[in-house]
């Protein structure tokens, strides 16, 4: 077992784990009536964490000095299982799972479970700590998001759980080749052969066992994934693009035994997105011809995608091909207007990856998978299960996946 104290007291280095004592599991649901301000943008998690954790405006965030944090400026030299653990010197990190599952009777469900880590002060700030710091003293906050989409029941439920990375409330633990990321009662456990996800709230819970069907995929340049103009506008990013999944989901008092396929991302970075990016669309698709696709679109105010937008194509054997912005073309076919936030989100797309002869349309499987947060819905985004159909290399193809759409709701304005 790797034993380390409070994450922030470590010499910061990629691959070192954030180690917290004590396990964490179970779930918590935050009463929506209360000023719950914590929600996330997966792609702009920086904003999430700051915006959600604060009521601060965007400019202040953007100008905030990033000095003192470790930053991603080149290849990440990822090694496993160590790098499944935390990278506490970086400001932002997340472990992200989505999947499409069904019962034996073909009733379909989508789910997501994400645990974010956020460092709230650069490591150097630790010098201002008292001589013998309290066990509660930490610079790490952990935030969990869970959602379940019941396609047939046209229902989308979500919850969150937040805790400081101290006194066993939340953290990342590594031992015997296993990595456990936990926040309160929720946990993500990554072992050599399988992953386990546990989250429970009053409304719903999930308990899933996942087995990789393909090896780890390193995005960009060996995991170094560019997100903007400068070298430091980047993250370290890898995925399990296909995980055989079995387990159960409980909705209220109903329990469903499910099987299906999941996707896992693990990403960490420090640099914020550059100014002038108004939002972010992200797709993960698992096609029935055995190929998986990830596309990452950085949206500019004029609607044009920033050239740093990119993607990855994973073939049946698990080999990955990096896609640059010029390799694919995504256009919106239809939109959906949220009755909650009044925001208009794209709801159908065509995705063409010319070089690989992929031409598919992508549709949301349930229009309303919007995540509304806070009493005034300051931070609102769409995260949901999608369905794809079209052709790949001339043959008909279908697939399922997840999409994340940020920066459409008024909440984005609040951040500017």
């Amino acid at each position: 077992m790797t034993t380390t104290g409070s994450s922030s007291s470590l010499p910061e280095k990629n691959g070192s784990g954030v180690i917290q004592k004590g396990p964490g599991s179970g779930g918590s649901r935050v009463d929506k009536n209360r000023p719950a301000r914590l929600r996330r943008f997966r792609s702009v998690v920086l904003w999430v964490c700051l915006a959600a954790l604060s009521t601060v405006n965007f400019d202040a965030v953007a100008q905030q000095s990033e000095a003192g944090y470790l930053s991603v400026t080149g290849p990440c030299h990822l090694g496993f299982p160590e790098d499944h653990g935390a990278h506490p010197g970086f400001r932002t990190e997340w472990w992200y799972y989505t999947g499409n599952l069904q019962t034996a009777g073909q009733r379909s469900f989508g789910y997501q479970l994400t645990i974010f880590r956020r460092r709230i002060r650069p490591p150097a700030a630790q010098q201002g700590w008292p001589e013998s710091p309290s066990h509660w003293r930490t610079q790490q906050i952990f935030l969990g998001h869970a959602a379940v989409t019941d396609i047939a029941g046209a229902r989308h439920v979500f919850s969150e759980s937040i805790a400081r990375g101290a006194v066993g409330l939340a953290g990342v633990r590594q031992s015997d080749g296993r990595t456990t990321v936990f926040v309160n009662k929720w946990l993500i456990d990554i072992g050599p052969d399988s992953h386990r996800l546990v989250a429970a709230t009053e409304d719903f819970s999930l308990d899933l066992q996942l087995h990789p069907a393909k090896p780890i995929v390193l995005h960009g340049d060996r995991g170094y994934s560019r997100k903007g103009d400068g070298a430091q506008r980047a993250s370290c990013y890898y995925s399990f693009s296909r995980l055989q999944t079995a387990g159960h989901i409980r909705l209220k008092d109903k329990r469903f035994e499910l099987t299906g396929s999941s996707w896992m991302d693990h990403e960490f970075s420090t640099a914020s997105l550059q100014p002038g990016i108004s939002g972010w669309d992200w797709f993960s698709l698992q096609l029935d011809n055995g190929m998986d696709v990830m596309i990452y679109l950085l949206r500019q105010p004029d609607g044009v995608y920033h050239p740093a937008s990119s993607g990855t194509l994973i073939d049946t054997g698990g080999r990955s091909i990096h896609l640059t912005a010029s390799d694919f073309k995504v256009s919106v076919l239809d939109t959906w207007k949220s009755p909650h936030s009044r925001a208009r989100y794209p709801s159908a797309w065509t995705v063409r990856i010319g070089r690989h002869a992929i031409d598919i349309t992508v549709n949301s499987r349930l229009a309303d998978q919007e995540m509304l947060t806070g009493p005034a819905a300051e931070v609102t985004y769409w995260e949901g299960s999608v369905f794809a159909s079209g052709t790949a290399e001339g043959l008909p193809v279908e697939g399922k996946g997840y999409a994340e759409l940020t920066g459409y709701a008024g909440g984005m304005e609040a951040l500017k």
Binding site: G24, H135, N184, E202
Partner: protein, 866 residues
């Protein structure tokens, strides 16, 4: 509807116009009632405000938790938090720590510092910061991110002029540190706790500041709906393996219950006391309505002759009473407003001194309280009017026919009334023996009322006897006018006599309170000098305001080991414990050393025989309050959970103790160390082994030595100063009581003025007849003066007797049942001897206007008028 309209028409014609004609009389009565009602209302509102603020503060700090994990007398290991969070029964858990701190430069007022985890606490407690916080982070993120930051409640910040971004120094019992103000709380949720005198900080900062690493005061739990209802006891059994020995799961509703019940008892006490003012006002109503009934006898007969039913006459006079009551109550509204602001301070100070710390800023006008005061005032006035209304009703229609009516030879009911009144006074004895109902000395209060009523009803018979006895003596001593006055007193009849009841009530209240407060003070003084003995008291800073719950700072403990040999230390550690809903303290002190220099004030047990057993740790001493609240007696076993230890010891004796919250259990510190564990100590008092020749110099030297060895972050009070301070605070707490008393006395004075004035007016023809048969004007005046003197003296004698009985009730029944303490009965003869003639003098002054009424008009006019 019509009969009612008709009735009011008649009331206006007959009664209202009569009131208007004699409006000064009516206004005096209304003023008396108004005073009584406003005292009653303002006292209740003031105590209610304290109760409200206490409850609200407790509720705000308790938040929405379903259960609370705590360790009696100690703290909970923080590791327990993630452990209980994993239990299926628990949906949320949050740790909380609190302590009173002071800001540098503000030695007077400590405020509550709350340490918590802003993230896990969110489901439990609401709070929000105002805009314009320091830094770019949200305030709760800032609390976590930056060590030694605080959020201040708005009143606290305003009071000190603190703003976001300021630095301020806060002191705790161990240390002081500089905090940065992150922001100001909105006046809602936690921002309102403690009357808006709170600061919030991150639990990490709290631990680093206080040095309390690894522990928290308590863990609040929210339980899963799916698992509940599980009883908390059952939950405790299920978690037996999880929870360390001694840890308790309690319901948050228990928090503050003992404080609340103390305040309620105090409220009831003051209510009864202030009710006395209303009761005195009742005599005023009685005398005016009775006067109307008597002086309008002929009109009543005409009314009856013209067809008015007796019921109608009765209703008219009853309505007069109600009208006076309602008028008094209306006039009381602005008066209460004035009084309440004065009372508020006194009342909340008393509650803070005697029971629990409260912070009160505002009074809320409670509809229930307004209704209550209206109802009580009206009822009192109605009751006061019943007897005169009955008299009026009995006026026969035939009287209308005769101009000069023969004096009805109605058998005076004085004797019959005396019988009833003796029965009432006698009833006080069995009533005082009854136990309290739900902590309220209900029977005791009924006994007080029956004493008041009994003595008032005894007045006619008493005056008869008194007049008959003194008039022959007066003849020799003071001549004819005095003799005539004596005769008048003898024959004055029920109406005059009952008016004396007002004086009896006020004087008895005065006597009883003088005796009670004196006994209380004498006893406290004895306690202060024997039990709160010591030449110098030393503790960590703010240790006292935090109830000495934590061991003293190490530097202090070590430094005191090396003190000069000329002083003997008595070290003490206190644990705040609970039995049922009753909060008390376990005081572990060096009994051997203590008993060499100080003593307990014993209620039960033999001090000499027990001394060695106490020092050997064979058992505990319990305070009287503790004994009365728990029912424990000498020989019973005291059982308690103290941190991780189950303590069970025999009760050796019962002693008096008057510290806040009153319940104390004393046990030897060394014995506790031997049997259980070293509790270390939180406060120490030092005794000079031999009284130094130059005491002040020795004390100064001792202080200097302590500062040299232990540093200056401590509190030192000289024993003399401490004892003086306790007595001063004690005296301050009774100002409210004496204000109530003064008002009751002034209402009684009003009563004397009206009664005598009315008597004079009624008898003007008689006076003229006296003049006609050769009396000098001065002789008539002298006669009236003697009447007043005799009535007042009689009232005072009866009041004194009633007061002594009342003081027994207050000391041995009401105080014991309300607060659990009694006092050594002690009469302040000097104060009584000085003040009673003063009351006679004041009452005579009140009689002056009546005497001056005589012959204000030439006698001839009066004769012709008749």
């Amino acid at each position: 509807m019509r009969p009612i309209a008709l009735f009011f028409r008649l009331f206006v014609w007959f009664s209202w116009r009569h009131f208007m004609k004699h409006r000064v009389r009516a206004l005096i009565v209304v003023a008396g009632i108004a005073l009584g009602a406003s005292v009653f209302t303002s006292v209740r509102l003031s105590v209610h405000a304290s109760l409200n603020s206490f409850t609200k503060s407790i509720d705000l700090i308790t938040g929405r938790s379903d259960a609370v994990l705590s360790l009696p007398g100690g703290r909970v290991p923080e590791d327990l938090l993630p452990a209980v969070l994993q239990q299926p029964e628990v949906s949320h858990a949050s740790a909380l720590m609190t302590t009173y701190v002071k800001a540098a430069g503000d030695e007077m007022e400590p405020f509550l510092l709350i340490g918590f985890d802003p993230l896990s606490d969110r489901p439990f407690r609401d709070w929000e910061a105002q805009r314009g916080t320091a830094g770019s982070d949200s305030p709760w993120l800032g609390l976590m991110a930056d060590p030694f930051t605080v959020l201040l409640s708005e009143p606290l910040a305003r009071r000190h002029g603190w703003q976001a971004g300021d630095n301020l120094t806060l002191a705790h019992d161990r240390d002081h540190a500089i905090f940065r103000v992150l922001g100001i709380l909105k006046p809602e949720g936690l921002g309102l706790a403690e009357g808006g005198r709170v600061a919030l900080t991150d639990v990490a900062t709290f631990q680093e500041f206080s040095g309390l690493h690894g522990v928290v005061d308590r863990i609040d739990l929210k339980l899963t709906a799916a698992v509940s209802p599980v009883s908390l006891e059952e939950l405790g059994r299920q978690w037996a393996d999880l929870l360390p020995e001694g840890l308790q799961i309690t319901s948050p509703s228990e928090a503050g219950e003992s404080g609340r019940s103390m305040i309620r008892a105090y409220q009831l006490n003051l209510s009864i006391l202030s009710f006395a003012s209303l009761f005195v006002g009742m005599f005023l109503v009685y005398s005016l309505v009775a006067l109307n009934a008597a002086s309008r006898r002929h009109e009543l007969a005409v009314m009856r002759a013209t067809g008015a039913s007796p019921g109608l006459v009765f209703a008219l006079f009853l309505t007069e009473g109600v009208l006076l009551g309602a008028g008094g109550w209306l006039a009381a509204i602005p008066l209460s407003g004035l009084l309440v602001s004065y009372m508020l301070r006194g009342v909340s100070q008393t509650i803070s001194t005697l029971f629990v710390r409260v912070h009160v800023d505002t009074v809320f006008l409670q509809p229930w309280e307004v209704l209550l005061s209206f109802g009580v005032t009206l009822l009192i006035s109605l009751l006061a009017a019943v007897q005169p209304a009955r008299e009026a009703m009995l006026v026969e229609a035939g009287e209308a026919l005769t101009t000069a009516r023969l004096q009805r030879s109605r058998k005076d009911s004085a004797g019959k009334m005396a019988g009833v009144s003796l029965a009432l006074i006698g009833a006080a004895v069995p009533l005082s023996r009854l136990p309290a109902v739900a902590g309220i000395p209900l029977a005791g209060y009924v006994a007080i009322l029956s004493l008041f009523v009994g003595f008032a009803m005894l007045a006619p018979w008493g005056l008869q006897r008194f007049g008959a006895t003194v008039s022959p003596m007066l003849n020799r001593l003071a001549g004819v006018p005095a003799t005539l006055a004596g005769r008048y007193v003898r024959d004055s009849g029920t109406r005059t006599a009952i008016s004396v009841g007002a004086l009896i009530t006020a004087v008895s209240l005065f006597t009883a309170l003088v005796i009670m407060v004196h006994s209380f003070r004498e006893t406290v003084q004895l306690w202060v000098h024997q039990t709160v003995s010591g030449d110098l008291f030393v503790a960590g800073k703010l240790s006292a305001v935090n109830h000495f719950r934590d061991p003293a700072p190490e530097r202090l403990r070590k430094g005191l080991l090396r003190l000069t040999a000329s002083v003997e230390p008595v070290r003490s550690r206190r644990f705040g414990l609970k039995t049922g809903n009753f909060d008390y303290e376990l005081d572990l002190l060096d009994l051997g050393s203590f008993l060499r220099h100080g003593r307990f004030v014993w209620v039960d047990g033999n001090p000499k025989a027990l001394q060695s057993r106490l020092i050997d740790g064979e058992g505990v001493l319990i305070s009287e309050v503790f004994a009365n609240r728990t029912g424990l007696e000498v020989g019973d076993r005291y059982v308690a959970q103290v941190e991780h230890f189950a303590v069970e010891l025999p009760v050796l004796g019962i002693v008096r103790d008057y510290r806040t919250r009153g319940g104390v259990v004393f046990y030897d510190r060394a014995a506790f160390t031997m049997r259980y564990a070293d509790p270390s100590w939180s406060t120490v008092r030092l005794f000079f082994r031999q009284r130094p020749e130059d005491f002040d110099a020795a004390l100064t030297a001792l202080r200097r030595e302590i500062i040299d060895r232990c540093g200056s972050h401590l509190e030192m009070v000289a024993g003399e100063e401490l004892r003086a301070a306790i007595l001063r605070i004690f005296d301050e707490t009774f100002t409210v009581t004496f204000v109530l008393l003064l008002i009751a006395l002034s209402i009684a004075a009003l009563g004397i003025t009206t009664t005598l004035a009315v008597q004079v007016l009624e008898r003007l023809p008689q006076f003229n007849t006296m003049i006609a048969v050769g009396a000098a004007v001065e002789q008539v005046r002298s006669m009236v003066f003697w009447e007043a003197l005799l009535l007042i003296t009689a009232g005072e004698i009866a009041g004194l007797m009633c007061g002594f009985l009342l003081s027994y009730l207050l000391i041995y029944v009401v105080n014991v049942q309300s607060f659990g303490w009694s006092f050594i009965y002690s009469v302040n003869w000097k104060a009584l001897a000085a003040s009673l003639p003063l009351i006679v003098g004041t009452a005579l002054l009140a009689a002056l206007p009546a005497i001056r009424l005589i012959f204000r008009q030439p006698p001839a006019i009066l004769l012709r008028d008749r």
